[in-house]
């Protein structure tokens, strides 16, 4: 679906069936056509290892559940700012 194009921003959970969020992130970053996509992780996984692993894999943002709309807006804005700059 991602390869088909038309997607410009990825917001993903970590704990998912078939392919977890980290695997998805790694797949996106290793794909030459998709590696530029911003990927935001929104997950209940709150271990420091998780956050470090996501950061190392190239996540654009990391939000722990439960989260507020304000947090989401702030993090999205931060990513957009980075992309613009």
């Amino acid at each position: 679906m991602l390869q088909a194009g038309g997607i410009e921003f990825v917001v993903t959970d970590w704990n998912m069936p078939n392919m977890d969020g980290l695997q998805l992130l790694q797949a996106i970053r290793s794909s030459p056509t998709l590696k530029h996509l911003p990927v935001m992780m929104i997950t209940a996984e709150a271990k420091k290892e998780n956050i470090i692993a996501a950061a190392q894999a190239g996540a654009s943002g990391y939000i722990v559940k439960p989260f507020t709309a304000a947090t989401l807006a702030e993090k999205l804005q931060k990513i957009f700012d980075k992309m613009g700059g």
């Binding site: 970590w14 996984e45 709150a46 271990k47 420091k48 290892e49 998780n50 939000i63 559940k65 947090t71």
Partner: protein, 282 residues
Amino acid sequence: MTDSNGSGDSRELEALFDSIASGAAPTDAAAAKASLLQQLREVEGEEDDSDDLQALFEAVVAAQAPAAGEPTADDDQASGGNDKVFRRVGQMARQLHDTLGELGYHELLGSAAAAIPDTRERLNYVATLTEKAACRVLNATDIANPLQEQLEASSAALAAKWDALYANQMSVDAFKQLAEETRAFLKQGLPQKTEATRAQLLEIMMAQDFQDLTGQVIKKTIAVAQELEAQLVGVLIETMPGERRTESVMSLLNGPVINAEGRSDVVATQQQVDDLLGSLGF
């Protein structure tokens, strides 16, 4: 695996395969099987110990394994022998590992198990002493209680008579009798009963001497229990499959953190996530 034209290593392996393959010839294997069966019967007849039986059983299995498959083409023969060698080496490594493990754990568990009868004795000792102490205390209170009741009743009776005197309802003779009764109570009845009660209080106090002894014994027993626990946990950790051991620690799929209090490996707020990412340069 089947590359036989490579380095010297593979030529050596090839030679090994050949020796295995020749050992796998049906006639040889059948003969070996027959002689092993003969041995098996002898061993059964002697009712030898289980170690020999176990070794013999493995030898029989090993002799049968190469005879089971009979490859036709040369390549098949080489790869079949190759697999068998690896399987056999794998089995041997596994056996060695198991045996070493059992030896180590037997020693460990043996020392732990040896401490248990001693601990049982100690706990029996504690039970005996505390039971004795409880009996002594109950007996003492059984003796002291009626004494107190008698004192109470005697005092109440005398008090009633004195009340009658103050109400001017008493004759002179009756007053003389009351004075005599009161004097006797104060001189004999009261000191006698308080003395007896004090003796029982002393008995109750002395019955607490068990605490000194049982306290020491229980401390030792707790030490044994802790040692035992540590050893059993050690065995558990060492025998647990490697994957499961690391799973709980290393997994990145733990779900929500139920209680972040007192844990340093998790974050509790988005702010902490941001700080962590910030410290990593994001």
